[in-house]
């Protein structure tokens, strides 16, 4: 796999009137590097190449990007998983405004996250120790709380592309259900009321791109289904 051919999305608002794809030749020394390693090698060639990264182990959610057409985290995606015929095309997450190169403006994504009130609400006085929760009750949070807010799911969702201001999107809804499912949370009714319009939840068309791309193996579609059930039960 020596001299991998990488095509990367470039756009610097100060100097470029339009985005373009730039070609790089990267000597991988035949190692099965992670895509993030390849980006670092490219940055040694051109220090101007901008991308986000932090933990480099798939837990901070900084380096979500589109690699050969599929969203994922660059730091835990080995070349052998994505490269086809020695070619790799890297683009920023789709559907969000580009600030520079691979860096997108995550504002809309975070706004939808904030909209679902992503924090525990409990109107009873806190005990002197922890609130008790059985292991079975706690198990209900598995597959929900692990979200790293990388936006791979929401930016692969056509419903989110069309209505990023009105449809909460898979990431936000997964977190919404994380609190609905928490036995310690007492704001269920208020949470459901906030989601009752035709867009917030019901714009999900079950396309399941979110499930296909989630780098943590989470299932937002299932969580959305559960919210729907709760909304319907609430309405009857």
């Amino acid at each position: 796999m020596s001299n991998l051919q990488v095509s990367v999305y470039r756009y610097n608002p100060e100097t470029d009137s339009a985005p373009y794809m730039q070609e790089f030749q990267v000597d991988t020394k035949d190692r099965d590097l992670m895509v993030l390693d390849v980006l670092h090698l490219m940055k040694e060639q051109d220090s101007g190449l901008a991308f986000r990264r932090s933990c480099r182990e798939g837990v901070c959610g900084s380096d979500g990007m589109n690699m050969n057409g599929k969203n994922g985290l660059a730091c835990i995606t080995p070349l052998s998983d994505v490269v086809k015929s020695n070619k790799l095309t890297l683009r920023p997450l789709p559907g969000l405004p580009v600030i520079r190169d691979m860096v997108v403006d995550m504002g809309l994504f975070y706004k939808q996250y904030e909209r679902i009130q992503p924090y525990l609400q409990n109107d009873t006085p806190a005990p002197a120790i922890e609130r008790l929760q059985s292991p079975e009750e706690r198990d209900k949070l598995d597959g929900l709380y692990e979200c790293i807010l990388c936006a791979c799911c929401s930016t692969s969702c056509p419903s989110f592309w069309w209505n990023p201001d009105k449809f909460v999107g898979p990431a936000g809804l997964l977190q919404s259900y994380r609190f609905l499912a928490d036995t310690r949370d007492t704001a269920t009714r208020e949470r459901l009321t906030n989601l009752e319009d035709p867009f917030s939840v019901f714009r999900c068309r079950g396309i399941m791109n979110c499930v296909a791309v989630c780098p943590k193996g989470l299932n937002p579609t299932r969580a959305i289904g559960k919210i729907r059930e709760m909304l319907l039960a609430d309405a009857t």
Partner: protein, 590 residues
């Protein structure tokens, strides 16, 4: 007047990890004009990578557990240079801080009785070392840091904290009295540089593991707060004390939690021998991290390492079974498959001691107030400057931190700093404004990079720095090698001072951020190197071939590195806890 735009706050918190967010939460609730300034979106901070848990005597696994036992373990673990008043504060206040996290929503794992799950971790004991292994580390599976950081961010949203996300703090602004009155900061998205005025400046910038070539730390851990404080002339404490975590994945450096050994995993050499039984007959694989890391290196040096090059050992987990692995260590299974191509349910994970944690940092009292020392060795508070979390040296970790104590440190001392600052603001704080020349001197560094026209490349110099540290200041150290390292670093400092930033653009210029980070790595590396060279003894994580024994006569002390003269002085360790008897130094065995 300076043409910089200025932003004014009561308190500015630099860093959006665990300690910064905990301090911010306290201040947001108080209604003070506060902002968190973070170079990454807060949930991308390195706290997110903490795995095994938060150690605290909440008496869940053992109803008779006692914070004093935790304090004893902490002081012993730190090889007796942890400040006992600080360890006392952390261990006794800890339960309150942990229950608060649970009330905020942190999804802790649970025991059958509904209480928080606790697992055994290294260096833990009952009854002051007499009652056997304790299980004191509160966990959310093996994703405790992630759960903690997200919970704190969520609660800051709930309390309407102001965030300056993807802003980079460049340098501290000091007035003519030497008080810290804010900082120079850059908005990464636009490149705009502003003067942030503040009555309290909190450095919550985390660690600097990226001074080493091999580290468990995130790429962002470049010691920015340490660099800023050193450039402003403030001393650093115990910088020679770097923890090498026994189980970094061989080759990749990613962390494998000590919780693996807490759940029953153990280390083996190439003969399949559980070698920790020889080095620590009682605690075995759950001895202090410094002890385990040294034992691993000894195995490797004596030819019992694993693999073709014999340069690592194995962590065996397969006997735990898929159910325990899936329930208690799901993240480790994932990381191990991704970075070691090993399924731990079937095969052992190749591991090697890897730079993990900076015990040293900005000396502070338990309120987070930064401390400096005058010519005659008396402590003085630095007005306006605070530090908490890994950037600070309170010191609760002494010469070696116990597993699970860093998350506790973050929340206890983040909270303490927030409470103290709130009180101080209520009483009223007035400092002399910064003058034009004060601001200019804080601008010097970024101006230098912006005007650089040629010179060596940043990634190249960074790699050299990391190699020097790895070669000369690793698990075992000795004078000749360290002298060479110090010399090379001095040369490197000159070269970095003339290095080149080719990209001068404004919008999201990550090359500029990396240039500024390189200066900070340089500051941290040099402080580490000089302190390591001059501490002529072996204590905790600082282990010297040429001085193999602990020297309590000369070195039962903190080291204090002064950047202006590059001198190392000593500072007294606190042996006066308020409510318990002093833990007198003893021979440290596990």
């Amino acid at each position: 007047m300076s043409n910089l735009r200025s932003l004014t706050f009561d308190a500015i918190i630099i860093g959006g990890g665990g300690s910064g967010l905990r301090a911010a939460l306290e201040l947001a609730k108080s209604g003070k004009k506060t902002a968190v300034l973070s170079k990454v979106f807060p949930t991308r901070s390195h706290t997110v990578s903490a795995q095994g848990g938060i150690t605290c005597a909440i008496a869940s696994s053992d109803p008779d557990d006692d914070w004093r036992w935790h304090m004893y373990d902490t002081v012993k673990g730190g090889d007796y240079i942890a400040d006992q008043d600080a360890a006392e504060y952390m261990c006794s206040e800890g339960p309150k801080a942990v229950f608060e996290l649970e009330h905020m929503g942190l999804p802790f794992s649970r025991f059958d009785n509904g209480r928080i799950y606790q697992r055994p971790f290294g260096g833990q004991s009952k009854n002051f070392g007499e009652g056997g292994q304790a299980a004191r580390t509160c966990a959310a599976a093996d994703r405790t840091g992630h759960a903690l950081l997200h919970t704190l961010y969520q609660n800051n949203l709930k309390n309407n904290t102001t965030f300056l996300n993807e802003w980079y703090a460049v340098d501290l602004v000091k007035n003519s009295n030497g008080d810290v009155v804010g900082c120079i900061a850059m908005c990464i998205e636009t490149g705009e540089v502003v003067h942030v005025k503040s009555k309290a400046t909190v450095l919550a910038t985390g660690g600097a593991g990226r001074i080493y070539a091999s580290t468990t730390n995130a790429l962002i851990n470049t010691g920015d707060g340490i660099g800023m404080a050193l450039r402003a002339g403030f001393p650093m404490q115990d910088m020679e004390m770097w923890q090498f975590h026994p189980t970094g994945i061989y080759g990749a450096g990613t962390l494998v939690t000590e919780g693996c050994r807490g759940e029953g995993g153990y280390l083996i050499n190439k003969d399949g021998e559980r070698f920790m039984e020889r080095y620590a007959p009682n605690a075995k694989d759950l001895a202090g991290r410094d002890v385990v890391a040294r034992s691993m290196v000894m195995e490797i040096l004596e030819g019992r390492g694993c693999g073709e090059k014999g340069d690592h050992v194995f962590l065996k987990l397969d006997h735990l079974g898929e159910e325990v692995l899936g329930k208690r260590l799901p993240g480790i299974v994932e990381l191990s498959k991704t970075f070691a191509h090993v399924d731990p349910a079937k095969d052992p994970i190749p591991v090697v001691p890897t730079c993990h944690y900076m015990m040293g940092g900005i000396p502070t009292n338990i309120h987070g107030q930064a401390i400096t020392q005058d010519e005659s060795g008396n402590d003085h508070i630095v007005n306006g400057l605070f530090a908490c979390g890994e950037a600070a040296c309170v010191s609760v970790h002494g010469a070696n931190r116990l597993g699970g104590n860093s998350l506790l440190d973050l929340v206890v001392f983040g909270r303490a700093a927030g409470m103290f600052i709130e009180g101080a603001l209520n009483e009223g704080i007035e400092y002399l404004d910064a003058s034009e020349s004060d601001i200019e001197s804080a601008m010097k560094r970024i101006t230098r990079w912006n005007e650089s026209e040629g010179g060596e490349s940043i990634p190249q110099l960074k790699a050299e720095l990391q190699d020097i540290m790895q070669t000369s200041f690793g698990v075992f150290r000795e004078e000749k090698n360290m002298r060479e390292g110090v010399k090379k670093l001095a040369d490197l400092r000159n070269r970095i001072g003339n290095a080149h930033l080719p990209d001068k653009s404004n919008a999201f210029n990550t090359a500029r951020v990396e240039a500024l980070e390189l200066d900070n790595l340089m500051e941290v590396a040099e402080a580490t190197a000089i302190a390591a060279l001059e501490r002529n003894e072996s204590r905790g994580a600082h282990s010297r071939y040429d001085f193999p024994d602990r020297d309590d006569v000369n070195w039962l002390k903190h080291s204090l590195y002064f950047p202006a003269t590059k001198e190392l002085k000593k500072r007294d360790v606190n042996f006066k806890p308020k409510t318990v008897d002093t833990f007198e130094p003893k021979v440290r065995t596990y």
